[in-house]
Amino acid sequence: MGKKEINRLVLDAAEAYSENPETAEEFLISEGIDIDGYVERGLNDLKSMDSKPKRKLTKSQSFFRRVVLAARIADAHHDERTFGIVKFQKLLFLCEHVCSMMFYTKYTKQAAGPMDNRFIHAVKTEFERQGWFKVQKENKQRSSKVVFIPLEGINGYRPYYERYYGDTDEAISHVIETFRQWRTEDIELVATIYSCVEEIQSEGEEVTEESVVKRVYDWHKEKEKFNEDKIIRFLKWMSETGIYPVPGYYK
């Protein structure tokens, strides 16, 4: 007892204060906030936003931005013992989804969770072409692992990263750091749950522990390696931490 209940109480309070503009205004004024001033400022900000031209990314622009994001992930994790191709994919998926990035993607359901196969193959080539990383398979006694070896031009991605992700760096770094020491299998489960919740919601169904567990098991036979208790525990953690695709709680 403690953190979970307090978390819930604060979220309930936030919801109660913001029930409607009247309760919100009353609350903000009681906190000594000049809300009318903020409304005026907001309207001005909105006007200046309207005057800025908006541009939709082309597929090649989208691809290159994803490569840059992938480089940031590989740069942060390449030294980690747990980092391989699966963890790399899952981190990319989570960064793109948690940070609401609008890219051209083709994620499909694979044994190890959501995967954009075409991009993963293309990014390896692009990393080498840019001189940022060499991606190669390393054979060990009983297994093999894909490693990301930084090349001389590794820092070349950084100016692009600054330009594309300067505003969202905090959110991206948060995802990258959250999962730094996680085992591949666990981040695989997080990405799978994330995708299942999105799927349930897109079908207009209610997200419940039962519905998520069912989706995870239906995802692929491989998911039987996760017991129900673990799936529910991860789902709760995701909901509490906000690494979760929805409005609100699940029930």
């Binding site: 007892m1 403690g2 953190k3 979970k4 209940e5 307090i6 109480l9 604060v10 979220l11 309930d12 309070a13 936030a14 919801e15 109660a16 204060y17 913001s18 029930e19 409607n20 503009p21 309760t23 919100a24 205004e25 609350f27 903000l28 906190e31 906030i33 809300i35 903020y38 409304v39 907001g42 309207l43 900000d45 909105l46 936003m49 948690v98 940070c99 609401s100 609008m102 905090e170 959110a171 770094s173 948060h174 959250t178 996680w182 666990d186 919601q201 897109s202 207009g204 525990r233 991860f234 953690w237 509490e240 931490t241 906000g242 695709p245 929805v246 409005p247 609100g248 709680y249 029930k251």
Partner: protein, 198 residues
């Protein structure tokens, strides 16, 4: 906007209306109040004033939606206000807090199977204030409201028996407006208890 539910502010259709000054004004107030409470309370140390942060988060949510309206799926949940609150504002705050000196708090969900480790959620600020004992806080709240039956029964259903908001409302036989009233009163008690501990 929906007039069927007089207490809650919802935008269920005509989603372009948020640029209308009247709608925008209401939306900004609602999002700012939501963000302001989620950011924390007086015990939280922040780099900028809370109201400035609340404004930034509220405006960022509105801007993100205006830039990418396709991201909002009205078939999934038709209420744009809920989407902005829970999908964008809450996420922005979680990310902000997670990235500001709390990384050392991050652990895996199965780190301790006996509890949900909301370790990098916004409330972990309280963990940083070691002086605050969360279990004690809940006990103190319970003690303060022990002679206030409406609050006590709400507290027990919602936080001890873990009923959902809807289930609690049904159990208590109250309206959503009354539920929110009680929550606001409970939050006042909560803030007072927290303040007394720091």
């Amino acid at each position: 906007m929906n007039s069927a539910a007089p207490h809650s502010f919802e935008i269920l259709s005509d989603y372009d209306c948020i640029s209308n000054p009247d709608v925008f004004s209401g939306l900004l107030k609602v999002l700012m109040a939501f963000a302001y409470r989620l950011i924390g309370d007086d015990t939280v140390r922040l780099e900028r004033a809370r109201h400035e942060l609340a404004y930034d988060f509220a405006m960022e949510a509105i801007k993100r939606h205006l830039e990418n309206p396709g991201k909002f799926n009205s078939e999934r949940n038709p209420d744009l206000v809920k989407y902005l609150k829970y999908y964008i504002v809450r996420q922005l705050i979680t990310n902000y807090k997670g990235s500001k000196g709390q990384r050392q708090e991050i652990a895996k969900p199965d780190f301790n199977p006996d509890e949900v480790n909301a370790v990098n959620s916004y409330l972990d600020r309280y963990d940083i204030h070691d002086s605050i004992d969360l279990k004690q806080t809940l006990e103190d709240i319970q003690s303060v409201i022990s002679d206030d039956p409406p609050l006590l029964e709400l507290f027990e259903f919602r936080y001890l028996k873990e009923y959902s908001r809807g289930e609690t409302i049904i159990q208590l036989g109250i309206t959503q407006g009354e539920y929110n009233n009680r929550i606001r009163r409970l939050d006042t008690v909560f803030k007072r208890v927290i303040k007394s501990q720091t």
